[in-house]
Amino acid sequence: MSLTVLTACIYAESELEMKFEKDLLGLKNLNEEQILYVIDTARKMKMLIDSPNKKSPQLQGKTIITLFYENSTRTRMSFELATKYMSGNAANISASGSSVAKGETLIDTGKTLDMMGTDIIVMRHPCSGAADLLAKNVRASVINAGDGMNEHPTQALLDFYTILEHKGHIRDLKIAIVGDIKHSRVARSNVYGLTRLGAKVFLCAPKTLIPPDMEKTGAIITTNLKEALDGAEVVMGLRIQKERQNSGLLSSVREYHKFFGLNEQSLKMADKDAYIMHPGPVNRGVELASNVMDGPLSLINEQVKNGVAIRMALLYILTRRSI
């Protein structure tokens, strides 16, 4: 399909056939049809990323601001590039060097951005629920790019997209997520979405890194890496922050890698074709061995690329929903 045809076919649907809320705050309240619709749209968007002239008109006249209270490389950059590939106006603010540093409240910052004609605010924030708070107080759509330990929906959506691309389906897949579940918004969003899409999700970590009652989400919890990996078709590693050692949640990174590390040895327990995923950034040699990360079954780079497509899809969907 040529780019003009692609543009035309996306552009023709000025009315979305799927209903979306004003904001994308999390996967807790996104149903299966909505999830698949986003992925379907992303699939079309990916063609643009692969084309020699990465420019389409779908966000012309739309302003997307990324408001980041925490550091980020890939999430922030992928939102900005997604905006630019689709001819939108991208602007960014970080907490340092803005009025946030002067003590402005989140709501006041949000309202200020709102008044400047912003269509979408993409926010990352260290507090769970910050995106909900912002969304309630601004007219613009809010996309949650990670709030505290709560949700990181765009990461989970790009993970689902990547799994679908490689496995063709999600229902009944055994997916193991290994790492710091307790502090991970990626784990939570993945669990909500993957269980809704019918996957068997295993979560594996030392008990200090598993939040209470996590099994009520529908995931299976284990501290035994063998049980988690046994027959797993997708294995997702999560970042182990070295600070966790200081707070007594881990004794040493060395011990973690011995019992929970994903390496050639431990991955023998998984399905022989098991794909390896990680939301990044990776601590090489801690949660994931370098040779596995760079190996043939690693989808980590593919995830990054799909991240741009998913974000293009979401920006498109949320700017179209009111037309």
Binding site: L106, H125, D132, L133, G148, M149, N150, R188, P211, P212
Partner: protein
């Protein structure tokens, strides 16, 4: 000045109770209680269809003065208390500066006498500046009128300091009110630890953080042979620890608050900061246990823990929001609706929890309607259903999670020292 209250149903915690009686008040005292008083009077209140209770007494509230007058002050706080049916309240010392000296005790008394509404009894700090390091001058403070001692809000961490505080306070027959919380277990927790905190991605405060300290303080009181009052208990195990201690004869009394028997952690859903309080709202199983504790007398009193906060302190990220909710104007109607209406308690038991027992614990000569007693009375009408409207509150703040709740229990009149003040 003779005030006659006619045709009301008189409710006491003990003795004469749930009877239709007229009450004649002369000056500040209750002069006569009997059927159909026909004596002369200057003023008459027709209490037909209403209940006449001894004035409600709150053993735990925050009036925020001095230092945080933008949240509440003694003026607005006592007006709010009055509209909630309270004739006496005991305010916590976590003001700025902390109430840890006689001058501030005198200040609170002076201010409240000037305002002349609900009676205010200051609780002094256990430690200087609530730092848990040096004991306050409890003897002097008691003489100045400190009604009890508490480092509420900043729990005493050191067990050895708590032991000394209990012994030292006991020297002056002083009461320690303990806010039980093991801070090291709470870490950066902002709500009850459990399924809700997991799915909201919020750090949890485990129940055991409260229970360990309840156990510690009860055992310290038992070991030292002193009395202790445990503030705002919220979990099943806390109730059990106190029940067992009472059975052993420990001089322990305990309180809970309406939010611990009317709400659960579910109220925090959608990051509702109005439901952020410390101790945090727990689970429905804890609510059941709290109600059992109220029924069997393990829990002695219901206090409000009225904790006003400015809207700006609640309309922020959940983790940054202040802890606490206001309670004066909802305490009676919630307690009636959730405890008496469903048949858990009788009106008389509720009067015990909200007036008679608080008076006994704070050593106030109040909490009963009898001839010769001070005339502090609250007249309530529990027949009409009403909707809680936080915009109508008299408090300076409106941080309440109860907006829109349908309840029974309207405060009709409040009489303090024989004067009809509401």
């Amino acid at each position: 000045m003779r005030l006659l209250i006619k045709n009301g149903t008189l409710i006491n915690a003990e003795g004469l109770t749930e009877m239709k009686r007229d009450i004649l008040i002369a000056d500040e005292m209750i002069m006569q209680i009997k059927e159909n008083i026909t004596d002369e009077y200057d003023m008459m209140i027709d209490a037909t269809g209403c209940h006449v209770l001894p004035g409600l007494i709150d053993a735990h509230c925050h009036l925020r003065e001095p230092g945080f007058e933008y949240k509440e002050d003694i003026e607005s706080g006592t007006l709010s208390a009055l509209h909630g049916g309270f004739t006496s309240i005991a305010c916590m010392p976590n003001t700025n500066p902390v109430i840890d000296n006689e001058a501030l005790i005198n200040y609170i008394y002076d201010r409240s006498k000037q305002i002349n509404r609900t009676k205010v009894y200051p609780i002094a700090a256990v430690s200087i500046n609530q730092e848990g390091k040096m004991l306050t001058e409890m003897g002097f403070l008691k003489l100045a009128g400190a009604i009890a001692f508490s480092d509420d809000g900043k729990p005493v961490e050191s067990s050895s300091f708590m032991k000394k505080a209990l012994l030292y306070a006991d020297t002056f027959d002083g009461l320690i009110i303990s806010h039980c919380e093991d801070k090291s277990l709470c870490e950066d927790g902002v709500m009850n630890e459990g399924y809700m905190s997991t799915v909201l991605g919020l750090s949890g405060i485990p129940k055991v953080a409260e229970e360990l300290m309840v156990y510690r303080d009860v055992r310290l009181a038992e070991y030292t042979g002193t009395k202790i009052h445990i503030a705002h208990i919220s979990t099943r195990e806390s109730v059990d620890i106190i029940r067992q201690a009472k059975n052993r004869g420990v001089k322990v009394t305990a309180e809970t608050c309406p939010h611990y028997f009317t709400l659960t952690e579910e109220s925090c859903d959608h990051f509702n900061t109005l439901a952020k309080v410390n101790p945090p709202l727990r689970t429905s199983d804890d609510v059941i246990a709290i109600i059992e504790g109220l029924k069997d007398g393990t829990i002695d009193i219901i206090a409000t823990d009225h904790a006003p906060h400015h809207n700006d302190e609640k309309n922020v990220e959940f983790s940054y929001a202040s802890n606490g909710l206001i309670g004066f104007e909802t305490a009676f109607c919630l307690s009636y609706t959730y405890l008496v209406k469903p048949g858990h308690l009788t009106m008389s038991q509720l009067v015990s929890l909200m007036s008679f027992k608080p008076a006994r614990i704070l050593s106030l000569d109040a909490g009963e309607i009898n001839e010769g007693k001070q005339a502090d009375l609250t007249i309530v009408d529990v027949n009409e259903r009403k909707t809680i409207d936080i915009t109508k509150f008299k408090s300076k703040s409106s941080n309440s999670p109860y907006h829109g709740f349908e309840v029974y229990g309207e405060i009709k009149n409040v009489i303090i020292d024989g004067k009809v003040v509401l």
